[in-house]
Symmetry: C2
Subunit: 176 residues, 2 copies
C-alpha cells in the first residue's frame, strides 16, 4: 500500500510516464520519498488492472514509444479518500549517516571529518538541485501550492542538515 498513493499523487498533477516518475522521485522528491524503476513499473501495471489509472500509448519518432498514465475517476476518488480518511502513518526513515554518527566515539577525528565532508557534499548537491527546481517552476509561473510547500520543505530539510553538520564539526573540534 506504500508506493501506490505516491504514484497516484504524482499522476494527479498531470499525465506522466513511468520514466517521468523515476526522475520526479530522484529530482523533486528525494527528501521525502524514494523508489526504483522496477517497483514503479510493477505498481503501475497493478494499478491499471485495478482501474485506478489508464494509459495512452504515444509513438515518438525520436525516442522509444511511451505510456502516458492518467487517473481514472476511481483513482482520483481513492486518492482523496486516502488523504482524508486514512490515519497518518509515521514517517519511515533509514539514514545510514546518522547510524555512522552514533559510532563516532570509536572512530578517529580524521575519519569522522572525512565522513562529515562526504555527507556535506551530498547534501549540498541535493540543495542545489532543489533550488534549481524552485527557480525553474517559479520562472514558469507555476503556483501549485503542493509544489511550493514541498520544495520549501526540501530546502529547509537540506539547510537543517548542513547546519547540523557544521555544528557537529565544531563540536568535534572543541572536544578534541
Amino acid at each position: 500500500m506504500s508506493i501506490r498513493y505516491a504514484l497516484l499523487g504524482i499522476i494527479s498533477k498531470k499525465p506522466v510516464t513511468g520514466y517521468d516518475v523515476v526522475t520526479i522521485f530522484k529530482q523533486k522528491m528525494i527528501y521525502f520519498w524514494s523508489s526504483t524503476h522496477s517497483q514503479i513499473y510493477k505498481e503501475l501495471h497493478k494499478m491499471e488492472e485495478e482501474d485506478l489509472i489508464t494509459h495512452q500509448l504515444v509513438i515518438q519518432g525520436t525516442s522509444p514509444n511511451k505510456k502516458v498514465y492518467s487517473l481514472t475517476d476511481q483513482g482520483k476518488k481513492d486518492l482523496i479518500r486516502w488523504a482524508i480518511e486514512e490515519p497518518l502513518k509515521p514517517a519511515k526513515i533509514k539514514d545510514e549517516f546518522l547510524i555512522k554518527t552514533t559510532i563516532f566515539p570509536i572512530l578517529s577525528e580524521e575519519e569522522i571529518n572525512q565522513l562529515l565532508d562526504e555527507v556535506i557534499e551530498r547534501e549540498h548537491n541535493i540543495l542545489a538541485k532543489t533550488k534549481e527546481w524552485k527557480e525553474h517552476f517559479h520562472s514558469q509561473g507555476d503556483s501549485d501550492i503542493g509544489t511550493i510547500l514541498t520544495v520549501e520543505y526540501g530546502i529547509r530539510y537540506s539547510e537543517m542538515y548542513l547546519e547540523w553538520c557544521k555544528w557537529a564539526k565544531q563540536m568535534i573540534q572543541d572536544k578534541a
Copy 2:
C-alpha cells in the same frame, strides 16, 4: 545489509536485549531509523550465527529471561570497516505526510488544516520525547559524542518540521 549495522552500532555502546533495541529505535532513533521487533530478533539470530555478536542469558526473578547481546571482536571490526570503507548510501525516506502535501490543491482548506494539525501534534510528541531524553542523559553525566550529535539532530529535525508546518499554515491562509 540494511538493519545490520544499525544493530551493531547500538550493541557497540553497551550490551542490550532485542527488546531494548526495539525501544531504542522507537524512543531515540525514530527520526533516522525504524524497524520492528520481528525483524530485529531475526537479524540478531543471523548475526550470532555469523559470529558478529554473542549473548548471555540472564535469568530474572521479576520478568521473563532475557538474552543480552554484545559484540564479538569480529563484529566490532566489521562495524568499523563498514563505517569507514563502505560508500555512504543515500537516505531512504518514506514520509506519507509530504505525499499528502503534494495533493493539497485538490483538498479543501478545512481538510488541509486538519491534516496539518495532525502532523503538528505528532511532531510535538516526538520533540517532547527527544528533549526528555536529552535532559535524562545530560543529568546522568553522559557525554557520548554520538548521542550528543544524534539527539541534537533529532531536535533540529523536529523543530524544522514544526516551523515548516507553521509556515505552511500561514501560506495556505494567505492564499485563501
